[in-house]
Symmetry: C2
């Protein structure tokens, strides 16, 4: 019954540590993983509406409101009105956060290079494809499970 420690386990540990490392507290407001993820997204795609952020991060709009509230209070982002749609709000990285994200991206790239550097150049393509395949497989498993659960709910609804 005792499972072995697998490559997957070790990689999962790296992911966990990486998230923890990204989530450093700077001034007052602590940068939690979720908040960092939002900043990361902003750094990658530029100023966005909250709705766009909710869609891209795959979380509820309500959730974005809370994250942006905290980040705004901490001075990491600013809210400004949308030029043409008065319902919408544009969220942008603050100047100081820009610098911080640049540093974070640098560290990130370095760690990633270290990791890929551990694999022989000829194998890198294969490793990436392997990761791709697992990602695909997991998505399928999750989709199948969601479908099964939805079916169960339907059965239960009929039974009532």
């Amino acid at each position: 019954m005792t499972p072995e420690i697998t490559v997957l386990d070790r990689l999962l540990e790296v992911s966990e540590l990486f998230q923890k490392d990204m989530a450093r507290a700077f001034d007052g407001t602590p940068l939690t993983p979720s908040r960092t993820r939002l900043l990361w997204e902003l750094a990658a795609t530029g100023p966005s509406t909250q709705h766009a952020l909710a869609t891209r991060l795959e979380v509820s709009p309500r959730n974005i409101t809370g994250l942006v509230d905290a980040l705004e209070a901490g001075g990491y982002v600013t809210r400004s009105p949308h030029p043409s749609d008065r319902r919408a709000i544009i969220v942008s990285l603050a100047a100081s956060a820009h610098e911080m994200m640049r540093q974070m991206q640098h560290d990130h790239a370095e760690l990633s290079a270290d990791l890929i550097g551990a694999v022989a150049p000829d194998d890198r393509e294969a490793l990436l494809r392997g990761i791709e395949a697992i990602t695909e497989r997991l998505r399928e498993l999750i989709a199948a499970d969601e479908q099964r659960r939805a079916e169960e709910q339907r059965q239960k609804a009929v039974g009532e």
Copy 2:
């Protein structure tokens, strides 16, 4: 400013999907990632006291109480008195959960085999060492950050 998608990014995605996949709801009580992690630990090391679980999972004893409460209500684990220490409680996997964990471990091992299979046999050692090195590096970065933060707090306390 736009960062590239790196290996690390993809691994983070795998990590996220993997956790999501493990956290399937069965009967009433949903199996969240944290709850699944506790079950996983129990499957790996056998019946344990709550204190031992808290230590191994690196969370507070209070946290374990909550997780075990939910898992016990869902029928995944049972609580029983410690034979010699009347303060302590032994948490064990329920019979049905045993079967479930066996299946989960099987899926897990398969995914991991797929991943390592993507790398040439001669390079697997190197990959593992690379992962090890990054893990070490991240741990150092996190420790350094914690120390920096503690120092700041001390400075602040002196200032008051």
